[in-house]
Amino acid sequence: MAHGPVADLVISPCAPEQDRGLFCINGANELKDDRMTRQMTGAKMVVQALKDQGVDTVFGYPGGAVLPIYDEIFQQNDIHHVLVRHEQAAVHAAEGYARSTGRPGVALVTSGPGATNAVTGLTDALMDSIPIVVLTGQVPTFMIGADAFQEADTVGITRPCTKHNWLVKETDKLSSTLHEAFHVATSGRPGPVLIDIPKDVQFATGTYTEKKQLKSRYQPKVKGDLDAITDLVKAMEKAKRPIFYTGGGVINSGAASSQLLREIVDATGFPITSTLMGLGAYPASGKSWIGMLGMHGLYEANMAMHDCDLMICIGARFDDRITGRVDAFSPKSKKAHIDIDASSINKVIRVDIPILGDVGHVLEDMLKIWKSRGRVTDREATAKWWKQIDEWKAVKCLTYRNSDKVIKPQYALERLEALTKGKDRYICTEVGQHQMWAAQYLSFDDPNRWMTSGGLGTMGYGFPASIGVQMAYPDALVINVAGEASWLMNMQEMGTAIQYRLPVKQFILNNERLGMVRQWQQLLHGERYSHSWSEALPDFVKLAEAFGGKGIRCADPKDLDDAIMEMLAYDGPVIFDCLVEKHENCFPMIPSGKPHNEMLLGDASTEGAIQAGGAVMV
């Protein structure tokens, strides 16, 4: 896939047989004139604007209301269209593309059901601040409101699940709206945007507005207040038990922000923990890394959060999976919060030093100020703090009881980690126990290598996301760590993987249960396993073969390494059916309503509970 620079003006964007109109007559020199206007159909504008925005891949599914756009896509070769099997998957694939590249993902779907199917993906992208642009077809303007075939109030339905959306009723406004959409999706706190384009607007001819002509009023503030940053630096100089608590905002802010973070963490020597969304911003192999925090975070990370005296929150948002019980959250600490979204600050936790701005800009200033003031930290106190953290680490909270008869899910991931480490690897996940285990047992040394549905927790996210990632990096190793239940939610995408020869590896930890639901039912609902298992799972090996892919099943820990190697060696999509322990629980765990220092460790064994009456039911 070519990611080369895209010229501001493409000299011959249309096929020779089409009207070449103005710009062929005017010649290349005059094309550079801002006053020059190009006439083209709305459908052509869509393709032109995507090219001008540097888009190389679109995930989509055609239908009546987008046929003119599909006709334009047919007549060009610059933009690669990937035909998914369900519109939800188009949006998740666009998310996977965006999360792994840092560039906006694009999805194209039709009106009505096409648009409503996109809603889950849009909400997912909104919760995780992922820049995507979704284009939907709409019934012709004169039919809007008439309950026409495949009509839905798309902008109405998607208003609360997009950062912004537009219904374009005039072809003349289409191209400027498209450019504005990319600007809004990628500026400030990133997020999904949607443009609803009625079919008559696609057919009609209008004036194309060049990208460089766009002057958007939407210009979020990126520089942080220097006084506030100085306050934070002063607090850092005095801190005895400091901690960096970082999130997806660091990754969203760009690769330079992760670099700055590494620099400041390594220079200060302060411990750093991260949310699920922020894994990879600071390398897991880095010396200051103390692991993920939160409900299934590491003991040392959560204890350090609880006992710290200075919490520096960077691009994270105090989600309820992170804080646990809010009124007992890190009671002794002074809290600083760096975020580009004012509504994230003081939303859940009151902070002492709020800094509104882009993580990259703020970190740059913070580093500068800290250095100029003499690079001061309380080395003695932080050394003591590290000693305490090392004691917590010694608990070895990720220890689990392995078995030589049945594959423990943790073991499967440890082996996957060992056998793929050092490779050009991207990991996606679905949602549930496997997701938390993947976060705990796989390690990430770089940003944009970990694609998971954090905020919305969308089962069915991982498989299409892995397709999006593989499209962006055709030669990389893309693995989707899945549970069998999540995976089935978008299993139709095997067709896409086969059609586009995308060698995505579907690593399914199959416990024949909705594992996380089962765990909660066991721990909190009296072991009444209400509808948390499936009795009619497919034969995943045959399923893979039915689509034309490869299926591998492994049930014995002794065979696991060979099976994983077989998966890695196969040049094509693989469904790896890893039959794991059915009743394994995910620990450590902060039960809801409990503070960070009341974690359950793996020793709160589930085995006794399983022997009780509930076991008969499962």
Binding site: G156, H164, D341, S592
Partner: protein, 187 residues
């Protein structure tokens, strides 16, 4: 029963912490929100309030700059200080919102509302209604032998008071615009 020994009815029975974290007192604030006058902008603002569970006590909207296509939305809302701060921040991040002003904290402001009240009656009640209208500086904008429509302008409390007085005198219908507000002074 379980490893957690959770008491029946405890909030930890949920995947969420069910305890409210906001113990502060409820405040009433008047917000002026300057928006691009484009389709759906009011729905974005109202959707924010309903979607996030905020209160709207009063809402008025009209285009105030026809050439610039800018509208002013005046919202009276109530909540704890933390919620009010959230509301302002959430409004501020709507792409089509240009400015958010909290008139309650940004200095003195004037608030006015217009009410139309239809009062039907005969004899002494009718005379009394007219007399009270005079005291409240309400004007008669429609009149028949058996009814008046009064127009009254003032703070919401003044209109409340006038409506309370009109009720026993034959108030049969009332229409109110909601609050419009501006900061006092030259700025």
């Amino acid at each position: 029963m379980s490893a957690l020994k959770i008491k029946k009815g405890a909030s930890s029975h949920s995947a969420y912490d069910l305890r409210s974290t906001f113990g502060d007192e409820i405040e009433r604030h008047t917000l002026a929100v300057m928006v691009e006058n484009e389709p759906g902008v009011l729905a974005r603002v109202i959707g924010l309030f309903s979607g996030r569970g905020y209160n709207i006590e009063s809402l008025t909207v009209a285009e105030v700059d026809h050439e610039g296509h800018r509208s002013r939305i005046t919202i009276v809302t109530s909540g704890t200080p933390q919620v009010i701060t959230q509301i302002k921040a959430q409004l501020g991040r709507i792409v089509s919102v240009n400015e958010v002003h909290d008139l309650t904290v940004e200095g003195p402001s004037v608030e006015r509302e217009l009410g139309l009240l239809k009062v039907a009656g005969k004899g002494e009640a009718r005379v009394e209604a007219l007399r009270l209208a005079d005291i409240f500086r309400a004007s008669v904008v429609d009149s028949t032998l058996e009814s008046f429509v009064f127009e009254i302008t003032g703070t919401p409390e003044k209109i409340d008071a006038f409506a309370d007085l009109m009720r026993p005198l034959g108030l049969i219908e009332i229409a109110r615009t909601g609050v419009a507000a501006l900061a006092r002074g030259a700025n």
